[in-house]
Symmetry: C2
Subunit: 199 residues, 2 copies
């Protein structure tokens, strides 16, 4: 389903076309080459002092069904309903400190978000769904996968090929078919002074 | 200057071509339509519960030289050396709480990073430089521009048209001409288990 962003001026296609679909084809795995493209896109995101403070864990159901299941078990019940069809799961994690100095990196989560956006845009370009979720048990994920204490789990990401919205039921289907929405530009983007919406 | 990312598999052009240049043409302003495109790209980034927890302040030297100067004065001395040529400055800011519930939004900085990456990629597509910086006085910026206490200043962003690296001197010029580098893929991207680098 195409739900292009409604914008005042044209923007890049993959940015306009990226959205967080939930209808994922349960019968198609994702080629390893495509997964590598998602990771390479994330890898080349910008970061403060070039720190690259992001870490990603990936589980491919085809090759590692047990790992995939463990990751899946960390999701909220609401997400499990549709993520069950996703052949690949990822988890984005922010590193706490700068590698060279050991000092706290206050841009770590920010930069991880940038890397994940690259990943999602690359997925869009490849005709894949990449849907980030905050609804998961981060403490459980850290324990399951021995993620060091001071790292911060940011998002689980469901990845796969899109399917028809009719794969979903009820509320999930309605949300899949609803138009995408954003606040008016001037609510979040200010010119010259705080709160002075740009026009 | 083109310094495309070196990747194992092809990735989207604008992701491969985006980099944080410092040589900016002091004689070219940025069309308002192009600035709107940068903001629209940011606006359509994904965010947890669709919260859009990012805020951006923009100063266009052409129309608001005093505001631009105030923003410029918040930069570190090292950044001032090259940012002096940038016709437009922006500041990305992360909102602290969810708009509906008033509860802390732990994805706020992460999502702001995603929005800024969209902005930078849109700049790349338009042939513009968008260079994010952590080197600025956030407390000073908050005071100057009456940014509410609980908001978090993330990055100043220098925006303009690219110039030849010869505009820069010494160390800055060397960095401009040096190849871009990233850690090997397996250092940050793991398959199935923490620390098990993907191949």
């Amino acid at each position: 389903m195409l739900k292009p962003a409604q914008t005042q001026v044209p923007i890049v296609d993959i940015i306009a076309l990226r959205w967080s679909a939930r209808a994922i084809d349960p019968n198609r795995s994702v080629a390893h080459e495509n997964l590598l493209a998602l990771l390479e896109a994330a890898r080349w995101a910008p970061s403060c002092y070039g720190e690259q403070p992001w870490r990603y864990l990936l589980w491919d159901r085809l090759h590692d069904p047990d790992g995939w299941e463990q990751a899946f078990d960390c999701l909220s019940e609401g997400n499990k309903v549709w993520v069950k069809n996703a052949p690949v799961l990822m988890l984005s994690v922010a590193a706490p400190v700068f590698r060279t100095t050991g000092k706290p990196n206050r841009w770590s989560q920010h930069d991880t978000g940038a890397a994940s956006e690259n990943l999602c845009l690359q997925a869009t370009a490849l005709g894949l769904v990449a849907h980030q979720m905050g609804g998961f048990d981060a403490a459980k994920a850290k324990e399951c996968f021995a993620i060091p204490d001071d790292y911060v789990c940011m998002a689980m990401i469901a990845i796969g090929h899109p399917a028809h919205p009719s794969l979903l039921e009820g509320e999930l289907r309605s949300r899949e078919e609803a138009p995408r929405e954003r606040l008016p530009l001037g609510e979040c983007f200010f010119q010259g002074a705080w709160g002075k919406g740009i026009v």
